[in-house]
Amino acid sequence: MTISTAPIPVSTDAEAPEAPARRNRFWAWVIFIMTAVYFLIPLGATFWWSLRAEADKLGFEAYRRLFEDANFWPSFTESVVNAVAAIFLSLLIIVPTAYWVTLRLPRLRPVVEFITLLPFVIPAVVLVFGLIRLYGRPPLLLTATYDSSRVLLICAYAALSFPYMFRSVDNGLRAMDVRSLTEAAQSLGAGWPTILRRVIFPNLRVALLSGALLTFAIVIGELTIALFMAQQTFGPYMANLTRSKVYEPSAMAVVAFALTWAAMGTIALITRPGKRG
């Protein structure tokens, strides 16, 4: 055993093998660039179209026409209102359910999980089929007027959001160890309303917000259910526009993409590790 202090030069017997990593990186770049091309071309082409509404020059004429279209803002605001209503309805139902399933009735968890997965099993077109057959005739006639249909639509959207909302809230509850927090609050003398308002909700803010934004992104341009319930919301409006106009649909698609991006980007931002609450 010797302890030497003299620096010993790097051995020249063999070279460090770096080749596999470099080959991997080559293929990674190939895959990435090819898929990037696939994803960017439709977006780029649409954007390019949206700039060509005026002959011989690029400009934002298509966007101006879109925003000035008589039906754009009414259908858009109607969809926003529907989305917000559906989100609140969904939160009101899912948050207490997820809380109770975590805390008091874990036995019911499989059942609740199964039900929240139903929107994946029942496609939107089948769901609206069933809703119309169920509520389209007495005694539960809900499709008679536009407004009652609208209520039905909002309820359907809330149900559609269950998988996302439940998963989001459930993950949030798990991350904060709801049982210990609740027991700690109880031992300090807090009642149920205080626990929910002061302990659970503040800690769930990120989960609730991301669930809400995801629901918003899905519901805002929803076509199928609104179409068959004859609702004049954003989805049917966009579908109509695509069929009837030349340049405005491209501007519409760009706006819709930006909206989705804003919603998902916000989720990515608020759920980034280390930036909770």
Binding site: M1, I8, S11
Partner: protein
Amino acid sequence: MSGFLSLHGIRKEFNGVVAVDTFDLDVEPGEFVSFLGPSGCGKTTTLRMVAGFEQPTAGTIRLAGKDVTYAKANERNIGMVFQSYALFPNMTVAENIAFGLRVRKEEGSARSDRVSELLDLIHLPDKAKSYPNELSGGQQQRVALARALAIRPQLLLLDEPLSALDAKIRDDLRAEIRRIQRQLNITTIYVTHDQEEALALSDRVVVMSKGRMEQVGEPFEIYNNPATGFVASFVGQLNRLPVTVEDPALGRIRMGRNELRTTSMIEAPTGAGVSLMMRPEEITLDDAEENVLEGIVETVTFLGSIVRVQVGVEGSKVIADLFNERLLELPEAGDSTRISFPPHACWVMA
């Protein structure tokens, strides 16, 4: 300088940060060497360089006379056991053990013979068809050991193999590892932050701190003659009393109004302020002829085979570990007491 495994001038930097510096070690065939140190001391990095997962920035690694510094990990024929077991979850125990033989294209019957041989060695012959997630942590680690040994490695590396296990299983498996290592007489390097493991298992221990070797020696030597303050405090419990040197030649020192004496060498001049070190188990609460200090008992902690008594002596804290005999009279907090230690059991450090 030659050994079966020899590390010479090993240095490793990660983005300019030095993780291991001037590491030199020769390991004899069949020797069991532990790398001991706190996390981040470079012990695992050194092990990974031996395994081939990292390349040294400088230095050479020779194994059985061959320079393997930059050899590929899959061509070194070194067995390794990981802290996380790293068993392949999609394979049974037998398939895990056979993996190294399979990728070596070893023939089927020879392979299954070797697998059952190893299952016997680790005392798990009836678990051949189990999947890793059906085994306990201790069983999984034994399978990992068998998998590493199956390829008849020239060298066995163990990276904190017991850290993820419960205390009781840890002791059993520790004995098991030593038994198997002796039986196969395989050269072994063992990385751990647990001094008890290192002392119990090894022929030699390398104590590391901040990327450097602090001391290399047999366990007894490391414990009783620590070369540096770091080794002294990291390996085992240690008491440290502020004293002044009175007479270096005679080993006389003073703490307040108490005259003390050590038989070990004092390198500091008269009047210098130094530390007097001693192990807790060498302190007694009996009266003795010399090296007696008066103090007040502060806490008494019952640890099973040992009773740990903390005594305040002139503003310093001294820990005494008393062996738990049935007739032991336990002091109580607040009692005044005398502690003593033999002159050969204490030494001076700057």
